[in-house]
Amino acid sequence: MAPPALSAAPASCRSRRAAGTRDPRLVVIILRGAVDGLSAIPPVGDPDYPELHGELAFAASGERAALPLAGAFAAHPSLAAFKRMFDQKHATIVHAVATGYRDRSHFDGQDVLESGYPAPGRTDSGWLNRTLSALSGSAPGRKLGLGVGATAPLVVRGPAPALGWALSGLAPADGDLTARVLDLYAHCDPSLGERLRDGLAAEKVAAEGSTAGGPKKPSAGGNPVDQMRSVAEGAARLLATPDGPRVAALAFDGFDTHQNEGAAQGLLAQRLKGLDAAFDAFSENLGDGWKETVVVAITEFGRTARVNGTHGTDHGTGTVALLAGGALAGGRVIADWPSLRPERLYEGRDLHPTTDLRGVLKGLLADQFGLSPRTLAESIFPDTASIAPMKGLIV
């Protein structure tokens, strides 16, 4: 009997999806301040890199060694867990990537990154919220989205309702007071009561997890790295809940390293260590859900290739997108590498963007949730018919 043709594989994937046995998850981490992609994922094999990135540059070996990945690329020493996932084929890097935004304002750059609109000025909804709208037919009445933080990131804000959760570190109100307030609201203000009940339910899951295993309260105390880990832990527990959210957004700030950026130690090293801890927390706390998860960390733009006069870097253009998750066909650095030759630098100063970030995100949404190219090009990322969804990111 003839073995099944190789071309049957995609068809069977589609049928598995249609049968509803997949339960995919997507987490978007917004890294605010513009990440130096040439330090996060240093192109240690590019001959122009050491001189250009100067005192901040890493090397393939020696005392400035970064963690080797593939080909010319390595990972910042802070990204140890991410590197481990890469080796397990659960992490992918897209390098020399950027949105369509080409100016240098953080506010406008973040608006474009998160709104998914081609230009700044529209902040009524984010592309992840519009994704929720597109998915709402598959689970009527269920909140598939989760916005993390005191103010949810714009990417998940908009008309489609989303669950919210924030790490507070406050001593929670005791059960008796909570019951009395809920009782008062039930009589006098049902809409506030419903919101409060939803908030209490989310906090309970984030603090304890939905399954047995003992409460493990995330703490807002501790250093910034622990805090970033705790935020990811809480979000992961909510995403692990059987009927919980499946799409989440959170934001980490502090990547605007104009001064004393540092190399293996310093400002950027600490922020990346927190991000690495967050990746680790998602993989640890999602349980079986990790197999079907992608966590993607994106930033508004990159930084200058050269070091400035204050041991840092200034606003630039091309940068990296970091993807982690068991759903990935990982272990790859995807880059149409422009090189760092002086004549190839964007405006003579930045890593030249050769991949549109929206193509990466469209590829993830297409393969994780089965969204059509038309929906992606019209409602999720308007006016992007010419930017094809990147293929093959997901197993």
Partner: protein, 236 residues
Amino acid sequence: MLTGWSVAGPESAVGDSGAFLFKSNWHEPGDRTILGRNYAPAGVEQGRAVLDDLARHPATARHIATKLARHFVADEPPAGLVDALAQKFRDSDGDLAVVATALVSDDRAWAPRPGKIRTPLEFIVGAARAAGFQSTDPGPYLHALDLLGMPLWRPAGPNGFSDSDDAWSSPEAMKMRLDLSWSMAQRMRGSAEPLAVLSTALGDTASPDTRQAVERAGSREQALALVFMAPEFQRR
């Protein structure tokens, strides 16, 4: 047009700290065209002329009227109210006292019930004032505002904080308000009688349910927390 417009620094020799200052040698000379109208070079007066014209533009009257009505009445204020306020703005040549008087005198401004939720700043400051709580330590207030997503004077973008109900009454925000009410009540319990605070803050507007909940509370701090969380206190 605005080049050269500045403020005096703390050590300035030419003006009080923070006062407006026009630095003519920083001003980019030349004609400016704004909204189709040409403005000849006139130093600081060029910018003032532009601002005068912008202030009298009909879109400005509507914009200010909409913002006032949205802030004080409802996210989607009655259209007739906005029109009336915009008209007052134009008729009075932008006298905000006249516009504000028209707002509070208009029945339509009082119609939408329940009212809007207090912003985090209104809630936190209101709680401390209602309790008569005096403290020289700003730390807990600033921390509370951070937790509620309204860090003092630090909005995420130049367009400022949201003025919509949904932005401030999300599930996680309501849960945070409950925890903060509890922590504030513990901190302030010595400074006020809960029923007196209820009366100070809400007077006759407290519902029988709220009054009963406060009266029947199991402890003084629980009673104070119930005042802070009462729907009439959370809303304006």
